[in-house]
Subunit: 283 residues, 6 copies
């Protein structure tokens, strides 16, 4: 008898019960203000993951040894932000309840809010490490409060001052940086400097890692909605990610803002896939 066509991220083949980490996709991009298309990120990265190996020479470990279950994409209703966030919250909550760690692939950055809602229910000491080109701290964008450009502000409303640590930020409006200077979040602009020291300080806390891939320089990662020149290199980011995973307690994670149609060469999908493989192995 033949089997149904299963499309998992490469090497994520273990059974649900044995899994430590559960992958899922959140294909939502309704609030993208500049260029949409992040909805295609999660399926593209699964599809193209077969250009990768399961083995990481960087960590000398194979993804098949990690125990990852890929539960596919949520079916999210474009144009209905609240309902979409709710579905993400529920999926995340279910995974956490069953003692596993959620690993969400976006979608636009707003999906992080759905996930954070579930994770902070379980982990009251939650801290967010936020890697991104953009501060995402507006109070609203053209009157819309639930927008990718406001997602960290909404997370801050849930967690309060001193719980969010931003790295790589190089773009935003003046008001966001004035608000930052009031002390609500900790920012390390332009690059990844200071991250090791921050990870040390955060030791003992439950960490949510949110990786907006546009932190990478557009030359490395052109396939994103709002490319912002002057970003980090691939190796620099990879080393920092392994470092974070090794030295802190990641309870949940997301990787967002891959918009594959904007990069016909496929290198952005390849970069995203490799980072996801390395994160899964390092976590």
């Amino acid at each position: 008898m033949l089997n149904k066509n299963v499309l998992n991220f490469i090497g994520c083949d273990c059974g649900y019960d044995e899994a430590n980490i559960v992958l899922f996709g959140a294909p939502f991009d309704s609030t993208a203000s500049f260029r949409p298309g992040a909805r295609f990120g999660s399926q593209a990265v699964r599809m193209e993951s077969f250009g990768l190996e399961t083995y990481s020479l960087y960590q000398d470990r194979d993804l098949s040894e990690v125990g990852v279950f890929d539960s596919g994409d949520l079916e999210l209703p474009m144009g209905d932000t609240e309902l979409s966030l709710d579905l993400i919250d529920k999926r995340c909550g279910q995974i956490l309840k069953e003692g596993k760690r959620p690993f969400m692939i976006g979608g636009e950055h707003l999906v992080t809010l759905g996930s954070i809602r579930a994770v902070r229910e379980k982990y009251s000491d939650l801290r967010i490490i936020h890697l991104d080109a953009h501060a995402d701290l507006r109070n609203d964008y053209l009157g819309v409060r639930y927008s990718h450009a406001c997602v960290m502000r909404r997370c801050w409303e849930l967690l309060g001052d001193g719980h969010i640590f931003q790295f790589g930020i190089r773009s935003g409006e003046r008001k966001e940086f004035e608000w930052i200077r009031e002390g609500h979040v900790e920012i390390h602009p332009f690059c990844l400097d200071g991250i090791k020291e921050a990870v040390r300080r955060l030791s003992g806390y439950s960490i949510y890692l949110t990786l907006d891939l546009d932190i990478l320089d557009p030359s490395v990662f052109p396939g994103t909605g709002t490319p912002e020149a002057g970003g980090t290199g691939f190796m620099e980011l990879l080393e920092v990610l392994i470092e974070i995973c090794k030295n802190s307690t990641i309870v949940a994670c997301d990787v967002v803002e891959l918009s594959p149609h904007y990069d016909a060469s496929g290198i952005s999908v390849a970069v995203a896939g490799k980072l996801i493989r390395e994160l899964l192995i390092a976590m």
Copy 2:
């Protein structure tokens, strides 16, 4: 002294006061369920209109003689459908109040609802001629009622039975066609047959013409979110549009679902621009 950079649709250079028709763009695509990008339609069609002439050999008339004012694009908040529809309603209402006819360029098809809200305020006898590949008559799409896939159903809720006349429809779910057979709207599936006769019957009524460009065959118009094979040809559509404009009272009009990024060759933008030129001249 130099002037600001003005980007009008070619030949739409008359002053506001003298204008009969007012163009505006509605760059919204938050509810696109398959492939987004219709937000880029209105600016692209302006930009590329300079590959056209202002003169129509088909109608032996020049666009510069028509009196069209291009008021640019609305700034619509992605992710907030209600607010967006409201802004469209207001712009349309203002144009109508000043005795001019609105000509809206989408954006996704849901923008038509904003426009219809304003137009039926002024014209209580309004009838809609709807050219499209898709029926757009679902009650909801994944629970979302304000979706491009439901726009004609929402218009029907405003206008009631017998006010909507559909042509070219070749796709939908079974339930939509069962609902049609209950007699709520008049449908002419697959092609443009029957349109001349319908226009005759509608003589005397105020007509809103909504043209979803995906009625065209994808070979002619690949640059759209949901290409649906088996559509009409360009000349066939052009002749019908001129026919409609000549024999009925178009009080407002829209052209939607150009998604230019999906067609790097630019032929879809060229087709859309030429149809807009011909419509403006024929109206």
Copy 3:
């Protein structure tokens, strides 16, 4: 508990036991002489099938009522033609043995040979209806006998004279047409004329339908390795396919030569998906 990520062609969700038709992909293109990439056809058409509806307005029937099981893609070793053909033969044989009909999505046209090997084992009266722009009747191509350009010649070697009926052919080398004139196969060049009459004559025989999508005009279907101008239109082909399915006994079928990377607009994948839906419903 969550499920694995299943990616079926839309509406092909029935269980294996209840299925009448079993879909599978044959992602092979090693012998493509001009432009490779047909290997990406089967996954692309599944992925993009979600831009379609399951309901056909043409046949007033829904794909979900048909009973189709999608068994995914074979893993075929690029560069090893014999091994690849063997794996196709085996998959096809298994489906036939279990009383179901195989529906293969290519891949390049050579994959048809693997399928024919299995089908003629079961059906000794097999006739092939071959829709294509190219005759594919060379004895060898640069010395290679197992090439897409020779596939119908290899099938002829299995079935003998008078078993292959070609339609739409508009390209080949002189020698192929001289060989045809010797009476080995029946050819209807350039278009689909004569197909109804041929179907009538073939009534009672077991039919294998092989559809090389490049029979379509390149304007309709640009996403193929060897586009050949002057082909059939979509509606013309669709009507003929429904006609064939209704009036003959299709025991197996394939749809080949979609090379999605050559058509960034996605209309080729949409065309292929719609034809597959209609074939599945009509069969």
Copy 4:
């Protein structure tokens, strides 16, 4: 000993002395007013001609029997129109002097002027059959007299009234059509109707055939600088071209305005290549 890398149009392999027809490319596009890129046309069409066969099923004749020599591309100085036209004139003159017929592949349409200068030196009874979407009859374009948009006006200055016969024209400014109505050239707008009758009337004259490929509908031929919707189909054009070649004395010919970068699918190059093959065989 090995040979240099020769890149001819497929099947154009005969020696110079035996050749009846001499191909050459004129890769010039400096005056393109909308989208440049026609300079890449001639090399692209050679390169991709290997996706064609040398044999034509339409004419049951093989290109290798015709006697065509491909002399490659001229090296034309972008930005210097006069010098470029001069180089074309010289190449054309040389071919004519040696008793062969020139077949030029553009480049933008202005290159025709260079060729006409040489041809009318030899043939004082020259008539031009001009297939195009655009009239190209402006006196100047933004003050430039040597522009693709003025090429037929410049030819008219050389040949006088009644020597140019235009077909398929569907775009131009009002003034061009007013000028036409003064009787300078004969126009058959929109389509190819009337061409057989015109060919009959022109019997006995020396004919220059200039084929601007944008006469084709953009669905068939998207790869051109100024796509103009509503054009002819491929088969319709092919039949007319064979008809013209069979029933008149073509002394020289050009095929212009292929701009391959605008069509990543490659179907425009394939269309151009097939038309060139058929023309070479029919001439």
Copy 5:
């Protein structure tokens, strides 16, 4: 009453009278010898500037505080180099006469010559800082003296020895470098080393800054006519540009050779837009 559609570079919204800097586009590329398309640069960079913020975190200043007026694109006649240079010269002269600084966006590099003609009328002590991958110092290119490949040679003819300072140059023909070694211009090949020292030496002089964006590595900036591997990084260039602006008297400036069609991902336009924003703020 509604307004005309204005398309300015983001944040360049001040009135003409209050403006310090006047932007204009010079969409000309007739002499491009390899790949044309720079004519599309200026409009593309305006259009996509809305993916940027007006605020610069690098300089902690907002573009809206600077006083920039965007006067749109010149209408330049393709194919007529002299007339085009003349129109640029006039626009530049007008801006200078009214006490403002011109900021030109190309177009190909030859447009710089038009601008230099106007600027040196006003500033007799003019020095040029030239950032580029190519020396652009040929005496002629295929016999054409007014070519992008000769633009710096033509500027040198106006200004004489010792007035041009080149950085980043990594390509040219042997003769150009022999000519440089005769002492006509100062060259700093391969990278930006030596620029701070040169800026110090040039203190007190009126500086024209011409930035050919192909100085950047093609990975950072693929959207250009003649990509030349081995270029500078974005941050390195950005820092140098801010340095130059702060420590010298820039009286006019241009940014050239963005050819957006060659980079479908849009990162080149984003890079160009960000550099223009930073230059406008730093000047």
Copy 6:
């Protein structure tokens, strides 16, 4: 009399007899497991080489002084690996026999095996310097032993332990690295460190240099079948290549895995062309 159209790599214009180095293309990619298209590499790099200069500022030498003959592409039968390797072996052998050095442009990496077979016939002390992202040391790939993924294993079977020196490797399956650790080949993973020292050790040996261009970071070189993030930069690679050529005896060389269709911007072809120019000059 006119000449045939010759398309050489720029500056490779010397006669065969005077040539030191003979270029040829090996357009084969039948075993590509992920994304095919390397077959288009050699012609693309010739075509686009005209965007380069013949002069190298890095080495202050002109390609025209080197003595290179471009013998064009082999005609390789897709789908028949053995026959293809044989044709490469023969071409290479002929060049070597005539006292010249072969320089092969791929094609996929498997073509190296054909070349090595010929070269080790002449040079019994042959050592391979292998620059690549992938180890290519599998024993088989899905049962196929003659695959690009196995090419270095096949070479090792010919040469034995200690003859292959790998640099830049960052991807492979676990088993390949276990096999490496058994001492069969010398590996320097991730980057180019250690290469100078290795070159010193190899002084006196006959060296075959095989450069898989995917050693470069995908940002620099996106146009390849299996992009692998985290690679070397252009300048770093260029310096190492010049170093190798200057300090060792390269008896033959290849450059493989350019797949130009995956990079519409053309920067990958430009990078490949520049590296080939520099290698030809440095050898």
